[in-house]
Symmetry: C2
Subunit: 201 residues, 2 copies
DNA sequence: TTGCCCATGTAATTTGTTACATGATTTA
DNA sequence: TAAATCATGTAACAAATTACATGGGCAA
């Protein structure tokens, strides 16, 4: 039996299958700006971060190389005015636009990946004291509320610009998502209180 | 300047710092049963999965080796009655219990890791038609509701057993979490409808 | 009696992080 | 003028997945 590497040869597409992180980086470029790796990292930190973990610098650099090799982006060196070190900036190609569009439209809808450390620890409640459970939840609640406020602020900053229509939409989603995380922490705190009342009346 | 590998040498602890996934596997063992790699995978699939991605077989096997090497678990081969292939089963040690307890109690509370593929695609809404956005959201909604129902059923199955008090607590959390994901999808769907109405009245 | 799922792993590969290197620019 | 920060990467390592190998039991 001949092995095939599950490629969409059909219709002569010939597009290499990329991991989600590549599409995320290409997606950042799909807004049309010419950006450096550093720019991309910063931008992904303040936009993607709400619903998609932000890759490290080094990974962004290697994704950019991969995208260029695939013909989805081109790069050029730009000399800085003030004598700063030169930098390499990337721009999406027509093929890149086509590829990321096709991905966004046609890829199967995969379940989100969640690694919820705080919940893992509470799942191990038999190893904790009530006070420690409350502590973990309180810190998580704090994080969720901080994220909610940031998302809320960013919605304000983004909603005026028509180019940000869809990013604004997802920021609204994030605002609600982190509000829900906060409320879920409160609900669990209440559940724990109830348990404790049951244990020592 | 001498470099130190950020270890808790203090108090002569000498415990090797483990990645979260190791703690997850050790946590599964902390309920006291003697389990094989296969058992652990199945069990993590139906319990951890709601809030913590379930590692692959091969990773579970290598985590078990690491835990044994660290002295946190021991293993033995057991011969099967019916002549089936022998298997290796693992049991947590006292040191392992102490280590996972300390981790659960004292590790810093890290933010959950989220990679929300569907949101990433909606963030790129400028590449999609309204119909395609609704499709992505509908499928995500479907997933969320499926998970919610499963969590709900598992709460029913687990709440009677006192040993499952805390797992039941996190299952309740999961039930609410996936209900919220479902509602968030609906809310975003409504936002998109509104956008569309604005675009072509 | 062949194909499929259970069960147990190892090997090869990919993905992603941390540590390191380098130099210029700002700020204290 | 020293330290922090911006900016750009590379190298080494760790985490995690997929592919592969193996053999028994069971159903068609």
């Amino acid at each position: 039996m001949v092995k095939k590497k599950a490629v969409d040869d059909a219709a002569g597409a010939e597009r290499p299958a990329l991991p989600a992180t590549s599409w995320a980086v290409l997606g950042l470029l799909s807004f049309g700006e010419e950006l450096s790796g550093y720019d991309l990292k910063k931008w992904s930190d303040w936009s993607l971060r709400f619903f998609y973990w932000s890759p490290s610098f080094s990974q962004i650099y290697s994704e950019l190389k991969r995208l260029e090799k695939a013909g989805y982006a081109t790069s050029r060196m730009v000399a800085q005015e003030t004598g700063t070190r030169d930098k390499r900036v990337y721009r999406i190609t027509d093929e890149g636009m086509e590829a990321v569009r096709t991905w966004a439209r046609e890829a199967p809808v995969d379940p989100p990946v969640l690694k919820h450390g705080p919940m893992l620890r509470l799942w191990l409640g038999h190893l904790l004291e009530g006070e420690q459970m409350r502590e973990v939840l309180a810190r998580h609640r704090e994080f969720a509320e901080t994220m909610r406020v940031r998302a809320e602020e960013d919605v304000e900053g983004a909603k005026a610009n028509e180019a940000w229509t869809y990013p604004t939409l997802t920021l609204k989603w994030a605002e609600r998502y982190y509000a829900s995380e906060r409320d879920l922490a409160d609900a669990m705190l209440a559940d724990i209180e109830e348990l404790e009342r049951g244990k020592r009346p």
